[in-house]
């Protein structure tokens, strides 16, 4: 385990690798690179399948665009509350940090709850199933894998929130929030792309 090199100063000083980048951050970016490959592979398959299918349905005739636009807004809000929480941790504002992390957790859970409601509406109301047609397969595969990532992110957010309540973060040690934050923002970034290609185009 890499521990920060603590000094009398409150400014954090972490072990840097040969590249001059803190090793945990470098590790998270390497992981995100694999996630880029994972999601671009799925999105690529969706684009190719859609090109190959002459009668692709117009998404707005099947999907609930206003509800998903609200859900997109919720995820954007969660990214904003997280950066505020991180900034508060850096500034030594313990309460601001805890509020930011809790709101991020709450908004992530709300995103998932709305997605579950959307699934219920599609499966039981409109008869769109993962095995019914290629549109349904693509839709549930892409949004399902993304939702799974959000679920993992929500669990991570709960972990850092509980750790913040126990005094685990300070202006000298906030890297845990930053590393989880990178994952969370990446999941938000992926949703921005998915919302456009799955729902709007």
């Amino acid at each position: 385990m890499i521990s920060p090199v603590m000094s009398q100063s409150t400014a954090p000083s972490y072990d840097l690798g040969n590249l001059g980048i803190e090793t945990r951050k470098l590790g998270m970016w390497a992981f995100l690179a694999s996630e880029v490959m994972f999601f671009t592979g799925l999105i690529g398959a969706y684009i190719v399948l859609r090109q190959a299918q002459p009668s692709w349905p117009l998404p707005s005739t099947i999907l609930n665009i206003p509800l998903t636009a609200v859900n997109t807004f919720i995820l954007i809000c969660s990214s904003a509350t997280l950066v505020k929480g991180l900034a508060s941790a850096k500034d030594g504002d313990k309460e601001g940090m805890q509020v930011g992390l809790f709101l991020t957790f709450l908004l992530g859970a709300l995103f998932l709850a709305i997605q579950m409601h959307e699934y219920d509406e599609l499966l039981h109301g409109r008869g769109l199933t993962p095995s019914g047609n290629i549109f349904g397969t693509c839709f549930f595969t892409l949004t399902g894998f993304h939702g799974m990532h959000v679920f993992i992110g929500v669990l991570c957010m709960l972990f850092v929130f509980i750790k913040s309540l126990r005094g685990g973060y300070s202006p000298a040690e906030y890297r845990g929030i930053e590393i989880v934050g990178l994952y969370w923002h990446f999941v938000d970034l992926v949703w921005i792309i998915l919302f456009t290609i799955l729902y709007l185009i």
Binding site: G20, L26, A33, V36, T40, G41, P66, K90, H185, T196
Partner: protein, 94 residues
């Protein structure tokens, strides 16, 4: 420059920009234009939003360029793959 030393960017402004771009996307998707202009416009807006998140929320604007290269280099390979397979599909369905 590392994220440890830079001043906090204006997160409020980034948030408002992301909100405004999301509203713009939903409105633009319903504008009666040719499909190609709708697709190009929406992709542009999505890339703009993704860039804002990556640059400011993920702090790439303040990090070493190497991190961005590590994170997004696979994107280039994936785009090449999509274009090649897409070309093959066009061959099947001219």
């Amino acid at each position: 420059m590392s994220s440890d030393t830079h001043a906090h960017p204006s997160y409020g402004k980034i948030f408002l920009a992301l909100f405004a771009l999301t509203v713009a996307e939903v409105i633009y998707a319903n504008v009666p234009l040719a499909k190609v202009y709708i697709v190009l416009g929406l992709v542009f807006l999505a890339v703009l939003k993704a860039a804002l998140v990556a640059l400011f929320y993920m702090h790439l604007r303040f990090e070493k360029v190497l991190l961005a290269i590590i994170g997004f280099a696979p994107l280039i390979l994936s785009i090449i793959l999509i274009l090649m397979v897409g070309a093959d599909i066009r061959h099947i369905h001219p």
